[in-house]
């Protein structure tokens, strides 16, 4: 059998030149068939029309100096609106001379997030690092101790507020959502119906109405004199809202884990909590990484809705800047800048989720 095979020819043959390299790639991806070739040409033409003016608007004819005097003259983008107001856009009404404090807090937060990316760092020490980090961030933002001047939370705003609401909103919402998903699958009727009612109720109303309830309706029920911080109330509304969506996604994941896994865990004598924690949830949560990240991303962007209860998050500080007559005409530039910040955060999340999926893939 082996003798009859002309082995060397098969090994030495190379694919035809038009199938490999740049030409091969172009042929396969840009010009396969007349329709795709026409599309390629059309798109190239559009790009040629659009990109050069965009570049000259954004970079060549643009003005960057904070004074903004040449903005009218240049005809290009007026990035001065951002550079002149950067401190207000980022920090809101936080006292000007103390703005280094939220800056340091954000740097600590980003450093912690960055460090937590690596799964080999998920040890007890990371938990202590977060506890310490949270404490330091709290002291920095709030002040009033250790010789820091106190800053009331109604002055907090801008990017630190957005990050605060989203990072803590999302990290708290996830476990709550998992508990709700488990509750919805529970055999105990009270737990089950509570979870179902909760999930359906929350999913049935828009986030804005929850935020209104937390800021307007909820305080009516509190005893006289007791005031709960407005940011905290918004934070809780965001957590409760996001948790309901997470719960439904996680439930999907739980159903995706085969019955055999439960049986195998049972037959080893594992109890319910061990089975869930060690066998079912690790698999279920892995299955639902993509949809959960979608929810987290949209929840992150939804934090901008807190404007309606008069919190000055990143988007609101930007809008406020634009209401200044001097900068009124330059909303495009300001919004592009804010969009970039949102994009970087969301892109980082989705990138990380893809990496996590890859790392957790045990099939090959």
């Amino acid at each position: 059998m082996e003798k009859s095979l002309p082995k060397h020819t098969a090994e030495n043959l190379r694919p035809p030149l038009t199938n490999i390299g740049i030409i091969g790639w172009m042929k396969a991806n840009l010009f396969n068939g007349w329709f795709n070739s026409a599309l390629t040409l059309l798109v190239t033409y559009m790009l040629w029309l659009l990109v050069p003016p965009l570049i000259s608007w954004a970079f060549i004819n643009s003005s960057w100096l904070p004074s903004g005097d040449q903005c009218q003259a240049g005809g290009g983008a007026c990035w001065s609106v951002v550079t002149a107001n950067i401190r207000f856009i980022i920090f809101g009404f936080y006292p000007h001379e103390l703005q280094w404090r939220p800056l340091v807090a954000m740097i600590i937060l980003i450093a912690l997030l960055f460090y937590s990316q690596n799964r080999s760092h998920w040890r007890k020490s990371l938990f202590y690092a977060w506890t310490l980090g949270l404490f330091v961030m709290g002291v920095l933002l709030r002040g009033g101790v250790l010789g820091f001047r106190g800053v009331e939370s109604n002055l907090w705003g801008g990017l630190p507020l957005t990050l605060l609401l989203s990072v803590f909103g999302l990290t708290a919402a996830y476990p709550v959502g998992v508990l709700l998903a488990l509750g919805r699958q529970s055999k105990l009727p009270i737990i089950k119906s509570f979870s179902v009612v909760y999930i359906e109720l929350i999913r049935g109303v828009p986030l804005i109405s929850l935020l209104f309830m937390s800021s307007v309706v909820f305080p009516l029920f509190l005893p006289e004199g007791l005031v709960i911080n407005k940011i905290l109330r918004a934070q809780i509304a965001i957590i409760l809202f996001t948790a309901a969506y997470i719960a439904e996604v996680v439930r999907g994941g739980l159903q995706g884990v085969g019955k055999g896994q439960y049986e195998a865990a049972d037959s080893l004598g594992l109890n319910y909590f061990q089975t869930m924690r060690l066998i079912i949830l690790p698999q279920a949560l892995k299955i639902v990484i993509p949809p959960s990240v979608s929810i987290l991303i949209s929840a992150f962007k939804d934090t901008s809705l807190v404007v309606i209860i008069a919190l000055y998050d990143l988007l609101k500080t930007t809008q406020t800047t634009l209401s200044d007559p001097k900068w009124m005409g330059y909303s495009a530039e300001a919004y592009i800048f804010v969009a970039l910040i949102y994009f970087v955060c969301c892109f980082a999340m989705s990138n990380y989720s893809r990496r996590l999926e890859r790392e957790l893939d045990t099939s090959l």
């Binding site: 085969g258 055999g260 896994q261 049986e263 195998a264 865990a265 049972d266 037959s267 080893l268 004598g269 594992l270 109890n271 061990q274 060690l278 066998i279 690790p282 698999q283 892995k286 957790l360 045990t362 099939s363 090959l364």
Partner: protein, 255 residues
């Protein structure tokens, strides 16, 4: 039939006793008046057409299915709704499934040590040593750090057997352990089961591997329509089946 059973249980105490056990799925009567006594070290093969209730029977023994009437006593403990009892019995009785049911997110070694560490509270070190011992025994030790998805079906089933053994069970249940395997992998799994039999493990095996039944079983049971129709030692069972349906079944699978 009954005399044979009592004669066999004379020498040692029974480990599994099933008395007048019935089970229904809704209105459907799956198991009808099952009586079965398994003594320590005994190896039983259950065969029968599909839908005859043989899998359901052994799944009742470790309470993956609930029986509605009659008694099941395992290792002196009666199976009731008491969760503590159920968990206790499950640690004493190992189970091997048709589709292996390994935990795909854990390495082979972690699959084996999970039960001992969390249920038996064995120190990790010791659990790993035991795991490696049984992996050697099923001749797959070199795969300890891989994930189940990276192994062939036969290898996975051997790991599943080792996983059960790590709990040091007093009896093992096998639910069609070779029927999901490619033909060339059946033998490696049967070999492991045969060596397990030689070590004196109490085994109840639902299987159509008649060669295996002939070589290791003390008793072969034939089930049909939710009843145990016939039971005998392998020699008489295969050479001289009493019941008409047994004869028909054997003629179909042995031809």
């Amino acid at each position: 039939m009954n005399s044979k059973q009592t004669e066999k249980t004379n020498d040692e105490a029974p480990i599994i006793i099933i008395e007048n056990m019935h089970k229904w799925y809704g209105d459907f009567h799956v198991l009808k008046d099952i009586n079965l006594t398994v003594k320590k070290g005994e190896r039983i093969v259950i065969c029968g057409p599909s839908g005859s209730g043989k899998s359901t029977l052994i799944r009742c023994i470790n309470r993956l299915e609930e029986h509605q009437r009659g008694k099941i006593i395992v290792d002196g403990i009666e199976l009731t709704n008491d969760l503590k009892n159920i968990e206790k019995i499950r640690t004493e009785v190992g189970m091997v499934f048709q589709h292996f049911n390994l935990f795909p997110h854990l390495t082979i070694l972690e699959n084996l040590t999970l039960g001992p560490i969390w249920v038996r509270k064995t120190p990790k070190r010791e659990a790993e040593e035991t795991a490696m011992y049984y992996l050697e025994k099923v001749r797959i030790a070199e795969q300890a750090q891989k994930f189940p998805g990276q192994l062939s079906g036969g290898q996975q089933q051997r790991v599943a057997i080792a996983r059960s053994l790590c709990m040091k069970p007093n009896a093992m249940l096998f639910d069609e352990p070779t029927s999901a395997l490619d033909p060339e992998m059946v033998k490696e799994v049967l070999d492991v089961m045969i060596s397990l039999a030689r070590d004196g493990m109490t085994m109840i095996v639902v299987s159509h591997e008649m060669g295996f039944a002939k070589s290791v079983a003390h008793r072969v049971l034939f089930m049909d329509g939710g009843e145990i129709l016939e039971q005998n030692n392998p020699e008489d069972f295969f050479n001289n089946p009493q019941h008409e349906r047994t004869q028909l079944f054997l003629s179909q699978i042995l031809d």
